[in-house]
Symmetry: C2
Subunit: 392 residues, 2 copies
């Protein structure tokens, strides 16, 4: 087991009606002015933004609004938000939405607190934020796990680049999680969420590490419960138990719990970021589903034992010790069938990505053939290209 630091300071208010506490909760931070940051019209139409405004007014807290965050949030919007904060004296950021809004809010908080640094440098790994503004969120989508994660992923659409980075500055101070607020999320977005949630933990599970059987068992619990919750949410969008277990899985899958004692990199996420960085219409979860099984078939031989454990513990496949590869390939097939059953793609063509883009994507993902992704089988440019080809 490797040494680790476990640091999950985000206070979660979970359950029905919790969003009504937002005024009291933010008042604890004594802010001068709050930026309410959100995405499309649904936050407004549902009445949630109106409720937040009422709650802040009731506490005598001033605020400004900034809506319009797009999926795969853009650096342009982040720059606009930072300027607004500086102009208006904003000292607290509230994200109302899903992962895109939360990541945009994190980037704004880091940019506004470090106005002498170009905020894109944080995403490009050229600088690390030393301070940030306090921030919280009201979750409208169970997917990204950004509500408890230390991650912030932003896209520069002009360059076609999508880049994430980890920092303690990226932790939300609080997260309000009411599963009922996700009842109206459609089947496709719900499925994308189920893929992304499980993937955050599945990727950690397949990072190198030894003797982490407690972490392993927790990870297997998160993966299995997300498989069930995702399917149940699609079957019945107002199934509170399903929405609640999925939302809580979203937070635990990506807050660090399931990586303790293991190496860490979200490898298939790196492969996917190039897809949705190139074409922002590609939903992140769909891109992950299109890639994962090809990744698994490409790398599994590097650690048969690990993939056997996963096959047995997560997919309940009986282990065939004489032909362990059969066991593993069967479990990967089950994973693929699950993706199809919840309406997810399992190939790049379904996302409109063709052979002509693969070398460019591989070049970007390997940072011009300079970066190798970690894993039981490390992945350099040629490996990345091979996986994209298998996924076609």
């Amino acid at each position: 087991m490797e040494n680790f630091i476990y640091d999950t300071p985000t206070r979660v208010y979970f359950g029905k009606g919790q969003e009504k506490k937002v005024g009291e909760i933010i008042a604890e931070y004594g802010p001068k002015k709050v930026l309410i940051h959100y995405g499309g019209g649904s936050a407004v139409r549902s009445g949630l933004i109106g409720l937040v405004e009422e709650c802040l007014k009731a506490q005598g807290i001033a605020y400004v609004l900034l809506g319009g965050v797009q999926p795969n949030p853009e650096i342009k919007m982040v720059r606009r938000g930072i300027q607004l904060c500086l102009d208006e004296g904003v000292d607290f950021i509230l994200a109302v939405g899903g992962g895109s809004v939360m990541d945009s809010a994190k980037a704004i908080a880091n940019g506004a607190a470090n106005p002498d640094v170009d905020v894109w440098d944080f995403n490009m790994g050229k600088a690390q934020p030393k301070k940030t503004l306090p921030k919280g969120c009201i979750l409208m989508l169970a997917a990204a796990g950004s509500e408890m994660s230390n991650s912030c992923v932003i896209t520069d659409e002009e360059q076609g680049e999508k880049r994430g980075y980890g920092s303690p500055m990226n932790r939300m101070n609080f997260a309000i999680e009411n599963p009922e607020l996700t009842y109206t999320v459609d089947a496709y977005q719900t499925a994308c969420g189920a893929v992304d949630i499980a993937m955050h933990t599945m990727e950690r599970y397949f990072c190198p590490g030894e003797d982490t059987y407690l972490t392993d068992a927790l990870a297997e619990a998160v993966m299995k419960c997300t498989i069930k919750a995702g399917a149940d949410c699609i079957k019945n969008p107002t199934d509170y138990a399903a929405r609640a277990n999925m939302m809580w899985a979203s937070s635990l899958a990506h807050n660090g719990l399931t990586q303790c004692g293991r190496q860490f990199q979200l490898v298939v996420h790196q492969l996917e970021h190039e897809l949705s960085g190139m074409d922002p219409k590609i939903a992140h979860g769909a891109g992950l589903a299109a890639l994962w099984c090809s990744w698994a078939r490409y790398v599994y031989q590097a650690n048969i034992q690990r993939f056997l454990q996963w096959s047995n513990h997560v997919w309940n496949v009986d282990v065939d010790y004489e032909h362990p590869e059969k066991t593993i390939l069967k479990a990967i097939d089950l994973q693929e069938e699950y993706y199809r059953a919840i309406g997810m793609p399992t190939s790049l063509r379904e996302l409109g990505v063709g052979e002509e883009s693969l070398e460019m994507l591989s070049d970007r993902c390997s940072r011009g053939k300079t970066r190798t992704l970690i894993g039981y089988k490390p992945l350099a440019y040629e490996d990345i290209l091979a996986i994209y080809r298998m996924a076609l």
Copy 2:
């Protein structure tokens, strides 16, 4: 699933050599003077207290020492610590030891920050601390989970009363967890720790609650891994993987993770506190082992389904749907065999407790017949007495 607040702000530094960072870590809080609080001679003899002193000196941080905390920490020591803090201007508390030292440190931090309140009133539920001093710990024993919990249990030996209370003020700011520091813990104390760790989560698991399948799966993971890790630690006290998984389980079993969405009370803990409150020579973990199986046999019929799930998921007993009671009683027997196998008592007589004490213990545990413990089968005075009798 019930609404909940999840709040685990303790930053954990886990792994080999982490205790050497203690000076740098405490320096972040900019304290004027630190109280180094510890128990018996082993913290000194092992060189750990000396190392802490060196680390603080290297950072130019002043400190005072207070050792001598006993198992089942006493209110007398807490009062002494508070006076020392007030006299010396201490504004940071460092606990070096196990649960007793950590709980004593928490009580001192709360008492010193609220000098106008009698500190025992917090434990008696007559007052709640509104503020506290920042505090951290270096763990020398994996058992109590106090390093991440919101709990603080103190004994008034003169009155024979042992009382715990939960408060956000009881959370450590940081915990340093180096599994190697527990290599010298003897087999009996290691077994007591394994019982206590699993019990923190097992008690949560049997509190009322519905539709918490993610929480359930995480709890089952913690219970199963603790069963394995505890036995492995006793087999080989310097098995790093076993000590590490056990130590990490200690923190997760009691930080709130395994209760999300369920009601909460540590019922068998309440029964046990009367034993070690009456006789401080009784180790808490041993008292729990002596009681749990009798509690389970007394209450299981109130929720057959829940006990069946536990029997199957934790002890891998095949479910006999025609005779579900057989399945459950078999799993309880396996739990009992496990306790015996690691050298724990499974009856009160083994702890020197006889029939003559049972009415007094029941009266105390029911707070003079005014308190009913929660559960699928709520427990009033007569139930408590019946369980003590079954455990004789």
